[in-house]
């Protein structure tokens, strides 16, 4: 149906799409930077350099640096397992890894409270041994691992299913050992999908609010991640400071979208 001129319906649909995208997506993004900078660049930089905000930025980056690599390793591991072998319980495993994406982040935080909290399953025993997990950075990392568990695996599973095992079998029959096969054959085939999954994991870890707010205790300068800091600044009626902190995460989000769109244009796996 190629037409030289656009039909009326086409014009209406395209206009509507831009109106909605503008009102629901572009304006919200613009308002972040408009409010962060409304008192001038100097105030903006001072807000970012506020010790509690700076600490929150550091903690958020630290959490991502720990969580993203673990997610990559486990994602590859699980994808290899479920796409290369058939075994009883395989479908249960696939459902289990998807579950964290389906539950409310508040539920994610709550289940960890019932495991490591003062009245939790393992909490009292750990406390007896002098280990306190709740309201520490460790709890933030654990709960972040929970909410992002499916992110890398879900990109790899369909891709590896579709690629099949011929390349890997050829490498083995040519005398490669398991690690050589993985390093020189499997990994190059899935590296863009890994990167894609890692970008999504990173965005979620840095932005996680509900789950972290249950387990972190929100101790300023100690266990406050950026989203929690944004919320506290807002509750203190420091709106400009809150938007300044939010602008760092908004930049991360824009960067995520650019990388994602670049990868999609480059790779043919989606």
């Amino acid at each position: 149906m190629t037409r030289a001129t656009r039909s009326t319906a086409e014009m209406i649909f395209i206009t509507l799409a831009f109106v909605f995208a503008g009102a629901l997506l572009v304006v919200p993004l613009a308002v972040i930077f408009a409010f962060a900078l409304r008192e001038g660049l100097g105030v903006y930089l001072a807000n970012i350099a506020e010790p509690a905000t700076l600490h929150a930025i550091g903690l958020t980056i630290f959490t991502a640096i720990i969580v993203v690599p673990i997610n990559i390793v486990i994602g590859v591991c699980i994808a290899w397992l479920v796409t290369r072998f058939r075994f009883p319980g395989r479908q249960v495993l696939i459902t289990l890894i998807e579950l964290p994406a389906a539950v409310s982040p508040i539920v994610a935080g709550t289940v960890y409270l019932f495991l490591y909290g003062g009245q939790g399953l393992l909490g009292p025993a750990l406390q007896g041994a002098g280990i306190q997990l709740m309201f520490t950075v460790t709890a933030i990392i654990l709960v972040s691992l929970f909410v992002t568990a499916p992110f890398v695996a879900r990109e790899l599973i369909p891709l590896m299913q579709q690629q099949g095992t011929e390349d890997e079998e050829a490498a083995l029959s040519l005398g490669a050992n398991g690690w050589q096969m993985f390093w020189f054959v499997t990994l190059p085939n899935i590296r863009w999908a890994i990167l894609y999954g890692a970008i999504l994991t990173n965005a979620r870890v840095m932005g996680e609010f509900g789950a972290v707010s249950v387990v972190s205790g929100s101790i300023r300068g100690q266990t406050n991640t950026l989203p929690l800091q944004i919320s506290q600044l807002f509750n203190d009626f420091n709106v400009t400071g809150s938007f300044a902190a939010a602008s760092t995460l908004a930049l991360m989000a824009v960067l995520t979208l650019i990388l994602k769109s670049t990868l999609e244009a480059k790779g043919g796996w989606r």
Partner: protein, 278 residues
């Protein structure tokens, strides 16, 4: 040689099985088990008293009705965006396509902060809405808007690949047979994208049920009026009422499980449909 090979041709079964099981047990199974034990230990009467209390019932009503309305809106918007992105070419198309994922990339707390500011009585949107009787902040309308924003991408991303794959010859055949454009959509296109559309709606609904960060900023959190289930759980934890939190978390977990099963069923329907039409 080939006959000697066992059913596991490739190496790494033991290693990946061991690592995966250990990791999933520590990170996912054990915490879920801890909560289930808590719920199991409280007895049915106590459990029922909590989940059927007036405050809980009001929270379910607000959460589910808001999620439902948000999903209907996103169903329509998602269809429009998917259609425009697959059928037409126009300047700015790639940017629009990338922008659709913003709600996934933007942290929910930032989304909440932005929405509450936009819809404040003096905000960019609020100054026009409020004088006309549309109060958004601290009302259910605010909850619906927050849920809508955070789940915009689901229907678009579910429908888009299916629309891309519909064979043009089917549509052309219908056209040669004298079908109008509306008939082509209703009889050829709509049945093909229906399973994907439904799957996207279920995902959108599930996300809205669980949304917390964006909603708490804008909802005002009045018990019985703008208190969603996730927030009630959070309040119970704050009050050290762990039974209350566990019982309600169990309800949300159950809802998540149902949506997961529903999505799986819809996806296999979609696969069967695609196979048949090939």
């Amino acid at each position: 040689m080939a006959s000697k090979r066992s059913k596991h041709l490739l190496p790494g079964f033991g290693l990946t099985l061991g690592v995966s099981m250990l990791y999933l047990t520590i990170i996912i199974v054990l915490p879920l088990l801890a909560m289930l034990l808590k719920v199991g230990g409280m007895g049915f009467e106590e459990f029922w008293r909590i989940v059927a209390s007036n405050r809980s019932l009001a929270a379910y009503r607000i959460t589910f009705s808001s999620a439902f309305i948000a999903t209907i809106f996103n169903g329509a918007l998602g269809l429009l965006l998917a259609w425009v992105l697959t059928r037409y070419s126009f300047p700015g198309k790639r940017i629009l396509d990338a922008l659709v994922d913003l709600p996934f990339a933007l942290p929910t707390a930032v989304a909440g902060l932005v929405l509450v500011t936009l819809f404040a009585p003096t905000g960019w949107y609020g100054q026009f809405l409020e004088p006309n009787g549309f109060k958004v902040n601290y009302t259910q309308l605010g909850i619906i808007i927050a849920m809508t924003f955070t789940s915009i991408p689901f229907v678009v991303r579910a429908v888009q690949p299916v629309l891309e794959e519909i064979q043009v010859d089917l549509e052309e055949a219908a056209q040669t047979l004298g079908a109008t454009r509306w008939q082509i959509f209703a009889r050829v296109i709509w049945p093909t994208i229906l399973p994907a559309f439904m799957a996207g709606c279920v995902l959108s609904f599930a996300r809205s049920l669980g949304e917390f960060g964006a909603v708490v900023f804008i909802a005002g959190n009045l018990p019985g009026l703008t208190e969603i289930v996730s927030l009630l759980i959070f309040i119970r934890i704050d009050e050290y009422n762990y039974e209350g939190a566990a019982a309600l978390a169990f309800v949300l977990l159950l809802a998540a499980f149902v949506t997961l099963l529903l999505t799986n069923a819809l996806q296999s329907w979609q696969v069967r449909y695609a196979d048949r039409s090939r």
